[in-house]
């Protein structure tokens, strides 16, 4: 049956990787909602302004990202070769480039000042 399996399209049956339990999904779901509400409330209620507010948004965003990766993308449970992890690292490089590059380019933008 090797032939058939190699071309099995919805193949949940033959690689045996776990896709999380109800419990882990619920925990992830609650954490992600909490991490969405925190920055929203902080800004809307005016609890913090300026750099403090930006810091809160940034930190909750990074935590949110980790939650998504661990609880929904199952990054920890991946078997070798770890394509998902590689893709994620590549994406991180690009994200850092995008964010840092934009800040660098726009900071020295003499037209906007």
């Amino acid at each position: 049956m090797a032939n058939v399996n190699a071309n099995h399209h919805d193949s949940h049956d033959h690689h045996g990787e776990s896709h999380g339990s109800v419990k882990s999904y619920v925990i992830g779901f609650i954490l992600s909602i909490v991490l969405t509400i925190i920055p929203l409330v902080v800004v809307l209620q005016g609890w913090m302004t300026g750099n403090a507010a930006i810091a809160v948004i940034m930190i909750t965003a990074v935590l949110q990202f980790l939650i998504q990766m661990l609880f929904f993308m199952h990054l920890k449970e991946e078997k070798k070769p770890r394509y998902n992890l590689l893709a994620l690292l590549l994406a991180l490089v690009i994200v850092v480039t995008v964010v840092a590059g934009s800040i660098w380019i726009m900071m020295y933008n003499t037209v906007a000042h």
């Binding site: 049956m1 090797a2 032939n3 058939v4 190699a6 071309n7 099995h8 399209h9 919805d10 394509y83 893709a87 590549l90 994406a91 490089v93 690009i94 480039t97 995008v98 590059g101 934009s102 660098w104 380019i105 726009m106 020295y108 933008n109 003499t110 037209v111 906007a112």
Partner: protein, 659 residues
């Protein structure tokens, strides 16, 4: 009441230009002809069953290429209209607004609705065949990608006769593309046409990365893959990382226009320069996305028509992958003149020059592949050979542009126009044509006529140089892009006329080349000889081991791969009387057809149309339709079907003849 309808119609339809009325009539006639032909020949059911609902990657690929050739025609007509207007000073052919709309649609269509689908078409048809797979990893998603592209492209093209075309340039920089300066619906068509087809592009990128990583036949290690598959992998990885940036940027522009946001308006604390920064973070990788697969095609063709292994396989792989990554570090060279200071410009000038190194490596690899090879000059090889000088000149003018201080002179002049047309036509278009000629026998089971093909090739090639070489000169003489006339009477004729006339002649020569290609295809469909052995070029990679066209399941038994260029080596073994033994046949599992991709994409089209005109009674039902089709799909048990061994035997016997 009647007056209301008349006012509505005069705003809804584009009016007032005889060219547009002519187009209206021809569109209506074409639609009537298509409906009549389908009904007369009773082909509606065939169209629905065999094409619209298909999940077969080969058929989806053919549909992609068909659409992209139609789009090439439209974009090409746009180009000829522009060149006619610019042929002489004081031409009264297109007015300024119409000219703006045409250069905008020309750019968008050629990049997003011609080059991208052509590339996806070649991926679809060839990547599974080259890696020994029976379909892509996600066949349903593949069909959905195609239909999203199709309806996105339809939405964009509709702007031509309904509502008015976008006219703020192919990348729609604010503030010009903002609601204050472009209050019409044209920019909305731009945003939604690209967004809808962009979702499809992103999904295709994911689909092919997974296909290539997960679905290779036994023994096909990464470093044994054909070079075109490597190029598809590098291009799709770049798509996965770059297209989200485009989606987000256009979504922000949409929020600015639709909901009064201030991401890109100075008065609300935003910054239009940020848009330029973001859009080029997608835009620069995008040009590598389309050119890398062309490099892959050339690598296949040089090896096949020189009867030699590709020179420097490993260095080629490294060059492709490093270009894919480096393409993300050069974007600011598109706006050296923005005023970001010397450090930023110096950094991006250096990265831009660096990316020329892997490209140079590839050029030498191709040259050494041909060195001492037994070269034959069939049409695919002609396009491939002509690509080398063309791309070298284009690349060198690119390095000139990357010198930041000099760029202040070249920026947005015809020098730039000549440069990017040289790399995009000389690289991408020549590459995809070469790929189409090369793989046509595999797609349809017969070869295209060589004699007409050579006429087409020479018209294209000579036309190209006649059209774009003068534009380098025009750029240095000060002619800027996007001017619609250069006026004697205003006293600023700069002696641009002679070169402009030559350039226009060149554009029409390429137009004649296109007509030759259409004739070539039509002629070859009528008078062809069937290709019986499936390997007309004496190919090297796995796709040539199959009958032409490949059966629905591609491979009756999955081949076992032991080396690069496995089919070539296998042929040597067969000659020596020691073919690799094949496994016995087993039933083959295949995916079922589905109508959902077509229907869901149609709902996206309806939603997009609603957002374009701000008609919520269209947009909301459209979005509901999208959601419902998604839900229906998630509860479907789509288990596919098995092709029994008897049927495989029958198909193999009929397609491979006695053997």
């Amino acid at each position: 009441m009647w007056e209301n309808i008349k006012t509505f119609a005069s705003e809804f339809f584009v009016t007032g230009d005889p060219l547009i009325y002519g187009a209206d009539v021809s569109i209506a006639l074409t639609l009537v002809a298509i409906v009549f032909a389908l009904t007369y020949f009773k082909k509606w059911q065939w169209l629905w069953k065999e094409w619209i609902t298909t999940v077969d990657h080969k058929k989806i690929g053919i549909m992609y290429i068909l659409c992209s050739i139609l789009m090439l025609f439209r974009g090409g007509v746009d180009a000829l209209l522009m060149r006619t207007q610019l042929a002489m000073p004081d031409m009264q052919f297109l007015n300024a607004e119409h000219y703006n709309a045409i250069f905008t649609t020309h750019g968008v269509i050629m990049i997003l609705f011609m080059a991208m689908p052509f590339m996806f078409g070649l991926f679809n048809i060839m990547v599974p065949l080259q890696i020994g797979a029976r379909d892509v990893a996600f066949p349903f998603l593949n069909s959905l990608s195609f239909w999203l592209f199709f309806w996105g492209a339809m939405l964009f093209n509709m702007s031509f006769v309904i509502g008015g075309s976008p006219d703020a340039g192919w990348l729609a920089y604010p503030p010009l593309s903002g609601i204050d300066h472009s209050p019409g619906v044209g920019q909305n068509f731009y945003i939604w046409g690209i967004q809808i087809s962009g979702i499809g592009s992103l999904m295709t990128g994911i689909n092919f990365v997974v296909t290539i990583l997960k679905m290779r036949t036994p023994g096909m290690k990464l470093m044994r893959m054909p070079m075109f598959t490597w190029s598809a992998l590098s291009s799709c990885l770049t798509i996965m990382l770059a297209f989200p940036i485009l989606t987000v940027t256009l979504a922000m522009l949409f929020i600015d226009r639709f909901a009064g946001g201030h991401f890109f308006t100075l008065d609300g604390g935003g910054n239009p320069m940020m848009y330029i920064n973001l859009i080029w973070m997608w835009g620069h990788p995008e040009v590598y996305i389309v050119v890398l697969p062309a490099f892959g095609v050339f690598s296949e063709i040089f090896a096949t028509f020189s009867k030699k292994k590709l020179f420097g396989y490993t260095s080629m792989v490294l060059a492709m992958m490093s270009i894919a990554i480096f393409s993300f570090f050069t974007w600011a060279h598109h706006f050296f003149t923005m005023g970001s200071g010397a450090n930023v410009n110096a950094f991006f000038a250096v990265t831009t020059m660096l990316i020329a190194i892997p490209t140079g490596v590839k050029i030498f690899n191709w040259l050494f592949t041909m060195y001492k090879g037994k070269i034959t000059f069939e049409t695919p090889m002609l396009w491939a050979i002509s690509f080398i000088p063309c791309f070298v000149i284009g690349g060198m003018t690119g390095v000139m542009l990357s010198v930041a201080p000099a760029d202040f002179q070249f920026h947005n002049s015809y020098f730039l126009i000549a440069h990017f047309h040289q790399v995009l036509i000389g690289g991408v278009v020549f590459g995809f044509f070469a790929g189409l000629y090369y793989w046509w026998p595999k797609m349809f089971g017969f070869r295209l006529n060589e004699r007409i093909g050579k006429w087409a090739f020479w018209f294209w090639n000579i036309g190209f140089y006649v059209c774009f070489m003068p534009q380098y000169g025009l750029g240095l003489m000060g002619m800027t892009r996007r001017v619609n006339e250069y006026d004697w009477s205003q006293g600023w004729d700069m002696g641009w006329m002679p070169l402009n006339i030559v350039s226009t002649v060149g554009a029409f020569l390429m137009g004649i080349g296109f007509i030759f290609q259409v004739w070539q295809i039509a002629y070859s469909i009528k008078n062809h000889k069937r290709d019986v052995n499936g390997d007309p070029w004496n190919g090297r990679t796995l796709e040539w081991s199959l009958p032409s066209p490949a059966p629905v399941y591609n491979f009756a038994t999955l081949p076992k791969i032991q080396e690069v260029d496995s089919w070539w080596e296998e042929k040597e073994r067969i000659k020596a009387g020691k073919p690799t033994p094949q496994a016995p046949l087993e039933p083959i599992h295949m995916p079922d057809n589905s109508a959902i991709p077509f229907i869901q994409s149609l709902f996206w089209f309806i939603a997009g149309f609603g957002f374009v005109f701000n008609w919520m009674f269209f947009a909301i039902p459209g979005l509901i339709g999208v959601a419902v089709t998604m839900i229906v799909r998630s509860f479907q048990k789509d288990e596919g079907y098995y092709i029994p061994v008897d049927e495989i035997k029958k198909t193999e016997a009929s397609t491979r003849g006695a053997g």
